[in-house]
C-alpha cells in the first residue's frame, strides 16, 4: 500500500490537533477541510477570521470542524508570553508578547503549551522562519539541540540487504555538521525511523571508509559521531564509519566488516555532510526511481515541519499524516 495512505490510516480518528500558521493561504484552508473530511486531525488555522472566511467562501470550502484563531487578538498571548520567558530574567513579558503573537511563534507556542500536537507551516516563507519559531518556542526533544531534516525514500525494489523504504539524513539543513551534531542527527533519525518504518531501525553513519580502512579526519568525525550516538541512545543499533556498500550489502559487509551489528541491512543512512546527503537522495530518486518524501524537519519537542513554497494541498495533508505518525514515536 502507498506509504502516505498507510500513515493516514494510522492517524485517522486519533484526534490529533494540528496548527497551520499560514491560515489565510488557500492551500492550508483546503488542507484543513480535507483533514476534517478524512478525520485525520483537528486543524487550527491562524489568521484573521474574516479574511479566512472570505477565502474559504471564494474557494467553496466549508470550515466546519476547523478552528480559526487570530494570534493578534487571542487571549492566549499573555499566557504564552509568560511561558516563553519562564526561567529567564533577561526578557520582559511585554517583549515576549510581541514575539508570540506572530503566527509562526504562536503556532509553536501552541505545541509547547499543549494546545496543539503538530505544526505544519512554511508554504509561504523560507525554511529558516519555521526552524526559528520551532526552535525558540517549541524547543527540542530530549538530548537534542540541532534541528535537522530527513527524506523518506520509497524505492521500487528492495536493495541487497532487504530495505525498500529508508530514511536519509540530513539532506537539507545542516551543511557541515560536527561529530556531536552528526550524532544528534543519527539519534533523531533513528527515533523517527522507528515510528515511520514501524520496525527497529539499523542506522549506518556513512563515510568513504569502513571500520578504519582509511585514515582521515573526516572518517574520524564519523567514528566519533557513532560513539556519541550509541551513548545517547543505547537502545538503538548504530554503526560507523561505513561505506555505503558495507551498510547495504550483507555480502560486502561479511567481507569488509564482519563484526558490524548492521550486517549490510541498514535502513537509516546518515550522511557526513550536506553535499553527500543532498546528492545521494537525488541519485536514489533519479537513477533508482525512488519516491523522495520530504524534507521533513525533526528534532523538536513535538513534530513541526516545513513545507516547500510549491506545496500542494495533498502535500500539506501528507505532511500532516507523517507528523501525526511521528507524534507517536518513542524515545
Amino acid at each position: 500500500m502507498d506509504l502516505i495512505q498507510k500513515y493516514k490510516d494510522i492517524v485517522r480518528g486519533r484526534g490529533l490537533r494540528v496548527v497551520y500558521p499560514e491560515g489565510n493561504d488557500e492551500r492550508l484552508i483546503r488542507a484543513a477541510a480535507e483533514c476534517v473530511r478524512e478525520n485525520l486531525a483537528r486543524p487550527t488555522l491562524l489568521g484573521k477570521p474574516d479574511e479566512i472566511a472570505q477565502k474559504a467562501r471564494e474557494a467553496g470550502v466549508a470550515l466546519n470542524g476547523v478552528q480559526v484563531l487570530d494570534p493578534g487578538a487571542s487571549d492566549k498571548v499573555t499566557g504564552y508570553a509568560e511561558l516563553y520567558v519562564k526561567g529567564r530574567d533577561d526578557m520582559s513579558v511585554k517583549v515576549a508578547a510581541r514575539l508570540v503573537r506572530k503566527p509562526f511563534a504562536f503556532g509553536a507556542m501552541m505545541l509547547k503549551a499543549g494546545d496543539a500536537d503538530l505544526f505544519v507551516g512554511g508554504a509561504t516563507v523560507p525554511t529558516a522562519i519555521v526552524i526559528q519559531a520551532a526552535s525558540l518556542c517549541a524547543g527540542f526533544e530530549p538530548g537534542i539541540s540541532t534541528p535537522s531534516s530527513f527524506f523518506l525514500m520509497d524505492c521500487p525494489q528492495a536493495g541487497p540487504g532487504g530495505a525498500k523504504q529508508m530514511l536519509y539524513a540530513d539532506c537539507a539543513i545542516n551543511i557541515s555538521p560536527n561529530a556531536r551534531e552528526l550524532a544528534e542527527i543519527a539519534v533523531c533519525t533513528a527515533r523517527t525511523a522507528k515510528s515511520l518504518l514501524g520496525r527497529e531501525p539499523k542506522t549506518a553513519l556513512l563515510s568513504f571508509s569502513t571500520h578504519g580502512s582509511a585514515s582521515h579526519a573526516d572518517a574520524e568525525k564519523v567514528i566519533e559521531a557513532t560513539k556519541l550516538a550509541r551513548e545517547m541512545a543505547p537502545g538503538f543499533v548504530f554503526d560507523g564509519e561505513l561505506q555505503l556498500d558495507s551498510a547495504i550489502s550483507p555480502k560486502v559487509a561479511a567481507k569488509k566488516c564482519p563484526d558490524s551489528p548492521i550486517a549490510g541491512q541498514a535502513d537509516v543512512f546518515i550522511f557526513p555532510d550536506l553535499d553527500a546527503g543532498n546528492i545521494a537522495y537525488k541519485l536514489t530518486q533519479y537513477f533508482g526511481g525512488a519516491k523522495a518524501i520530504g524534507p521533513i524537519l525533526q528534532g523538536f519537542a513535538k513534530p513541526a515541519s516545513d513545507l516547500s513554497r510549491g506545496a500542494s494541498v495533498e502535500d500539506v495533508v501528507s505532511a500532516t499524516a507523517i507528523l501525526g505518525v511521528m507524534a507517536g514515536k518513542g524515545t
Partner: protein, 83 residues
C-alpha cells in the same frame, strides 16, 4: 535618520544580545560582529516592536544585516505606522 531611533535600536541590541554599548556601531553586523544567532533575530524584532510600538514583517526583518540597516528599516516602519 533620527537620533531617537538610533538610540532605541542600540539599547534593544545591547539588552537582547548582551553586548556593551561601546561595541555597537551603525556598521556592526548582527551575526558576524555582535554574535546574534539566527534565533536571536526573532527576539530582536520583538524588542524593536515593543520599543517603537510598531509591527514588523518577519521575512522583511530577516533581511536586515547591520545596526544601520535596522535603523533605516525601523525609521521607515515608524513613519508608515505613526505618520
Amino acid at each position: 535618520m533620527s537620533d531617537r531611533i538610533k538610540e532605541g535600536v542600540i539599547k534593544v541590541v545591547c539588552e537582547t544580545l548582551k553586548v556593551d554599548e561601546a561595541d555597537v556601531t551603525l556598521e556592526s553586523r548582527f551575526v558576524d560582529d555582535l554574535g546574534a544567532d539566527s534565533l536571536k533575530s526573532l527576539e530582536l524584532v520583538a524588542g524593536f516592536e515593543e520599543e517603537f510600538d510598531i509591527e514588523m514583517e518577519e521575512e522583511a526583518a530577516l533581511s536586515v544585516k547591520t545596526v544601520g540597516d535596522a535603523v533605516t528599516f525601523i525609521s521607515k516602519v515608524v513613519k508608515e505606522q505613526h505618520g
